[in-house]
């Protein structure tokens, strides 16, 4: 591995996680009632109160955290943006199923409740909720002395949205030859921070307040960029029925997330030359000598969202996206499972 840093060496064992997830899926599946419409592993769980109504309302629910991006926020003392990150992450996870958000609940756990910190977190969450017409319906603030060190907190979010059952985005309708349309990420979003922090802060010893010309901002500013919500860009497309399926590119990167928008027998060809990677990813790759495979399974690499679109509708989709920041054709759906990267990375 050329002595480079991998996500596993940074402490995240994705394989062990996968084995536990398989057993967890089995246990969860045994609890499924007739209202459950989704398989485990979907971006959001699907539940209907009307199992016999093919046009009924479907609730789409998802739980998420912010990961070790929280440690950057806690070191810098800026807490509102991770609240926005969390809501936006949750919104994207149900959006790729075709749902718009209804309400959100949060879980904040800390050793000693610092009121101004919790209030800042909620300010960020409330701001992002309001931007989506989503009610911040409740939550739990847990003070656990001795459990979290001073200044540390964890943060989780739960979202419930709604979709019409006959308008759900469904990988089952995807066919070989459909095109992949990508939307840019705003940066790391909320994934890969264990590796990013290890490379930039620990190994390189960079200070969070140092200005890096390559990034055009301080390291803290880059690392705390708010996880983009794709709701404003995508919802009109969902309502117009222009998208077949979509994948939110989070932990596991394109190789692990794009297949979640495809039927099991299909895969994808991703054109590496179709976009410029944002500088932060190039910086991490270079300084950490991170193998390409780990870069791809750890980071979004500038691709925050991938839509699966019928070729005949691609022009209309790209036109509609133009006003919300451009999208581009990332590649195509092909026969056989798995994601294949083709061509040459730019820059």
């Amino acid at each position: 591995m050329m002595g480079g840093l991998t996500y596993k060496a940074a402490g995240v064992d994705i394989d062990a996680q996968e084995r536990a997830l398989a057993r967890i899926r089995q246990l969860a599946k045994a609890t499924f009632t007739p209202g459950v419409l989704s398989e485990i592993g979907a971006f959001g769980g699907l539940f209907t109160l009307e199992p016999d109504n093919p046009r009924g309302a479907v609730l789409v629910a998802s739980a998420d955290g912010v990961g070790t991006k929280l440690q950057v926020a806690q070191q810098v003392g800026r807490h509102d943006t991770v609240g926005e990150d969390l809501v936006n992450h949750c919104v994207n996870d149900i959006l790729v199923q075709g749902a718009r958000p209804l309400f959100f609940l949060d879980y904040v756990a800390t050793g000693k409740l610092e009121p101004q910190v919790v209030v800042a977190l909620v300010e960020g969450m409330a701001r992002a909720c309001a931007a989506h017409g989503c009610a911040l319906l409740g939550g739990e603030t847990a003070e656990m002395p001795g459990f979290y060190p001073p200044g540390a907190y964890d943060l989780a979010g739960f979202i419930v949205g709604v979709a019409a059952r006959d308008r759900l985005l469904d990988p089952a309708g995807v066919v070989a030859g459909d095109l992949l349309v990508a939307l840019p990420s705003s940066g790391l979003h909320t994934n890969g921070y264990s590796l990013a922090r290890k490379v930039l802060l620990e190994n390189e010893g960079l200070a969070l307040d140092s200005h890096l010309p390559e990034l055009g901002c301080t390291l803290a500013e880059e690392l705390l960029r708010v996880h983009r919500s794709y709701f404003a860009a995508l919802w009109p497309l969902v309502e117009r029925g222009l998208i077949k399926a979509a994948a939110h590119i989070t932990g596991g990167g394109i190789p692990d997330n794009l297949p979640r928008a495809l039927p099991p027998h299909l895969g994808a060809e991703v054109e590496l030359g179709s976009w410029d990677e944002p500088p932060v990813f190039r910086l991490i790759r270079r300084l950490g000598q991170v193998p390409e495979e780990d870069m791809r399974r750890t980071f979004n690499l500038g691709v925050g969202m991938v839509l699966v679109v019928e070729e005949a509708k691609v022009a209309e989709v790209l036109m509609a996206l133009a006003s919300q920041g451009p999208g581009w054709v990332l590649g195509r759906v092909v026969e056989g499972p798995g994601v294949r990267f083709v061509g040459q990375r730019r820059g």
Copy 2:
């Protein structure tokens, strides 16, 4: 304070928590959409997809954690019961609004994912979900290296249930003279562990595996008793319209939780002589010399659930409860806010 241990001295500052909560409520309220039917501070948030339908379905949602009971589980290496605790806690929180559970999602965060630990947690959650006809619809398992020490994890849960809007339990219908019917807790449930651990483990130096004759079991067994679900006992009463309102007695004890089942202008008189406190509470009070006020605001003291019942229906309620473990008349609703404890504690 007689040198006794208070919850505040144990690290939990309930007043600071209250101040932050006031601001949080304000921020959350600003996000409320027409679907929101609850005020902030309810046991569960209420949301309807049909704001104009007085008989429509209402979704009732709640988020919870397990608190520092997790540290006992982690010390002992038993992880399934805290999973059950979490689900049962969530079920009770929506049950007191008149809702039955639909689905549950979990958030597990840990430094290094130990597959057998996460699987045990999910086994407990799946068991409790299945017992309630509740689907374990999804969740997030977050591996955050360096954030949680080895062997530690945090656990949060999120539940969504449903109630008919015209059958919601509603404090607004409670009048002075209504009676309070209590149901016994199974032990500490999931509240007061910071104080309990400080008194029993830290100050007294008791070992978790020590057998305490006063408890009739080991300390670990007592501290890990599963938070009781009141669903089997209460749901038939809810369906028959026998209960006006109900309070799940969690953090803050009877003084903080019972008023949540009452209109603002009414309070309660609680007869201390109406029940025997379980031994674990007497042990903590005695060994920690804990002031009575702190005992009451920290622990359920053996009262896990309080129902508000019209006097004419009390006999029917007690009869119906008899097969599910007895209930008893705890006191009555009175004019003027606040909870007043009267009479003498037994034992």
